[in-house]
């Protein structure tokens, strides 16, 4: 016997028939002239608009991208095997839309918002166009709330604020995705909704990310938009915009959201493929002329908006909304001066450089503190990290300079040696394991210990153990103090005294 689908219940069918609009409307029609590599050329369609959805026979859709004098060039969204020369193509008068809303949290969807995780239909009540103009200057508000990634090195030296765009850039296998995923895990319990857009990744990697997020209880606040390596270029090109539309839903509602684009290099490749097939003239590195706009219009949509905007969009009063973007760019052989990396560096509000040499030297996260910057995050840092973290950056900068210099010197004076040793310890302290994000208080405590010289008598190789023991001691014996710091992130004389007492007691009583 054939199985009955849940959607075949008479009530649902009746409702659908009721809602069906069968009034005949004037439509623009054209004929498919050629189909190749996911690109169709259509004759006719005189009234088609740029970016409009085009309907093909068999319920397939395309996106009009080239409007020429006698033909229209379009990309097909999804499989194109059923589309043949001579078929009719219709204008729909609509821009591509994806489902948005809370119903998507915890789900894995493709670039069109269709669920691909086998957990049934979405039940999303709203849809939003994938392309939208970013909020203008009037609607914006300054970035002044931190978005904690849970990494000591990032939060102390290149802080990210809610509504900021911070680029994560580095070669392959330098821990870019891990950093972004840890940032998502760290948003657990903060109310920040996350969107992870996987562009051109292996299906196995995507499955891995989903599993890791589930393991750490981070899937409940996360939407995954997946356009895998085997998906058509049109889906890879679209997926960041779809993900952004899903994130903007929360922005409009006066909530905070985080979106990770992993990675935009692959999106640029997909767009290059589409553009070359559409016969647009190639420019530098064969990218089309508008590859800058491709990324700038996407990243401009990540921002912090003021309560007036939020009220206008969703009726929620007195709330600011933000969409923080962590785009990822993969470089080839550390070449950040290639076309796409320079573009995205110039668009974003700062970048985190991850380096292979550091990664291989065991410094993980492999962030190069010297050239990583955050242009707006400083204003958003928690007080305690801002106060304590300032010394870290300086110590590391001086250490790097001295370390290079000291290689030639056999005899060093005491001050230099002290600085070198401090630098070594800070470098060691900045190492952090994957899937182990730290709270503000934990970070503050670690950095406090380094700043106040409590690490000076700890062997460099023991720093990691020392820190682990210190943190577990603090969390069990000084839970109150830690909780107090976590709530407000303030730094006062009382807190400094409390921290000092904590570390002194730890060193006096505990082993590591």
């Amino acid at each position: 016997m054939q199985q009955l689908n849940p959607s075949e219940i008479s009530e649902i069918i009746k409702k659908r028939i009721d809602n069906l609009d069968v009034t005949s409307q004037a439509q623009n029609e054209g004929t498919v002239v050629s189909v190749f590599d996911g690109i169709v050329r259509i004759h006719g369609l005189a009234d088609v608009m740029y970016g409009e959805m085009i309907e093909f026979e068999g319920g397939k859709y395309g996106l009009a991208l080239n409007l020429e004098r006698d033909s229209v060039g379009a990309v097909i969204l999804g499989d194109y095997k059923t589309i043949a020369e001579g078929q009719t193509a219709k204008c729909t008068g609509r821009i591509l839309e994806v489902p948005v809303g809370e119903a998507l949290l915890g789900r894995v969807v493709d670039a069109l918002g269709t669920p691909i995780d086998g957990k049934g239909p979405l039940n999303a009540e709203k849809t939003a166009p994938v392309e939208r103009v970013a909020p203008g200057v009037i609607s914006r508000q300054g970035v002044d709330q931190p978005l904690e990634t849970g990494y000591k090195s990032v939060d102390s030296m290149v802080p990210v604020g809610r509504g900021q765009r911070e680029l994560i850039i580095g070669d392959r296998q330098t821990g870019k995705s891990s950093m972004a995923i840890d940032a998502i895990i760290n948003q657990k319990g903060t109310g920040v909704k996350c969107v992870y857009v996987a562009i051109g990744q292996k299906q196995s990697s995507i499955a891995n990310v989903v599993r890791k997020l589930e393991e750490h209880g981070a899937m409940e606040h996360t939407i995954i938009v997946a356009a895998g390596a085997s998906d058509p270029a049109s889906m890879l090109y679209l997926s960041p915009y779809s993900g952004c539309a899903m994130g903007e839903y929360f922005l409009d509602k006066g909530e905070d959201a985080l979106i990770v684009y992993d990675d935009l290099t692959k999106q640029a490749w997909a767009y290059r493929q589409i553009s070359l097939l559409l016969k647009r003239p190639p420019g530098r590195e064969a990218y089309p002329g508008d590859v800058f706009y491709l990324h700038s219009r996407l990243l401009e949509r990540a921002c912090r908006v003021n309560p007036i905007y939020v009220e206008r969009e969703s009726g929620v009063k007195g709330q600011t909304g933000s969409l923080t973007a962590l785009p990822i760019i993969e470089t080839q052989g550390g070449d950040v001066s290639a076309f796409v990396p320079t573009n995205v560096i110039s668009i974003t509000d700062g970048q985190i450089f991850l380096e292979t040499s550091l990664f291989n030297a065991g410094v993980r996260p492999a962030m190069n503190a010297g050239i990583s910057v955050s242009r707006v995050g400083g204003a958003a840092q928690t007080k305690i990290i801002k106060k304590l973290g300032g010394g870290i950056r300086l110590a590391l900068a001086q250490y790097r300079e001295l370390a290079a210099f000291a290689q030639f010197a056999s005899d060093l004076d005491d001050a230099t040696r002290a600085q070198l040793e401090f630098g070594q310890r800070v470098t060691e302290l900045m190492k952090q394991k994957q899937y182990a994000p730290m709270s503000t208080a934990e970070m503050g405590l670690s950095i406090f210990a380094a700043n106040e010289g409590f690490l000076d008598d700890v062997e460099v190789s023991k720093i990691g153990d020392f820190e682990a023991a210190l943190l577990s001691y603090a969390n069990s014996e000084f839970a109150e103090l830690m909780a107090k710091i976590n709530v407000k992130g303030d730094y006062s004389k009382d807190i400094a005294a409390g921290l000092k007492e904590l570390v002194e007691k730890f060193k006096a009583t505990q082993a590591w």
Binding site: I13, Q27, N28, E29, H43, G44, A46, D47, E68, K90
Partner: protein
């Protein structure tokens, strides 16, 4: 096809301008359609693309066939097409020419595909309604397609109004599917 239209456009425009100047639109239209009909013939089509024949020979073959149906300017037009190896573009040129002619005359060709033969009164009502909607004279041609089940599809260039039962059923099927 799209590219061919692009290539054909300048010829059609030139022919049209010439026709307007001579005040001989209908004559030009006839000349072009006759030449196109001949050119569509299999044997002649082979001649028109034959590599061992010169452009002049190809054009002459066509003009000779048309005989006195062509006036001097018509012959010249075909010679130019031959010289530029564009004789195979004639169907597209005719199409573009007819479009230009229709635009000049403020008229549009409309095909009505209906499930059943339309009565004269129905045709009258339709043309009047379409005339109001499209703001130009309507030249109605009727076609019958029983597979529409009921209703009709109106086709005016790119514009299609699907009022057929088949179209509605397709819409229903799609709505049930999603």
């Amino acid at each position: 096809m799209a590219e061919l239209t692009t290539l054909a456009r300048p010829y059609a425009k030139a022919a049209f301008a010439e026709a307007v100047e001579q005040n001989a639109l209908v004559q030009w239209s006839d000349m072009l359609s006759i030449a196109t009909e001949f050119a569509a013939d299999d044997t002649l089509a082979q001649v028109l693309v034959h590599p061992s024949l010169t452009a002049e020979q190809q054009a002459t073959a066509l003009t000779d066939l048309c005989g006195d149906k062509l006036n001097q300017s018509g012959k010249n037009f075909l010679m130019i097409l031959g010289e530029n190896k564009r004789l195979t573009l004639l169907p597209q040129i005719v199409e573009a020419f007819e479009d230009l002619k229709a635009a000049q005359e403020h008229a549009i060709d409309v095909t009505v595909i209906s499930a059943f033969e339309l009565t004269d009164a129905q045709q009258e009502t339709l043309s009047l309604a379409l005339k109001n909607k499209l703001q130009c004279d309507v030249r109605l041609t009727g076609e019958v397609d029983h597979s529409l089940v009921g209703g009709a599809i109106i086709r005016a260039g790119d514009l299609v109004i699907d009022g057929s039962v088949r179209g509605k059923l397709a819409k229903l099927a799609e709505a049930m599917d999603t």
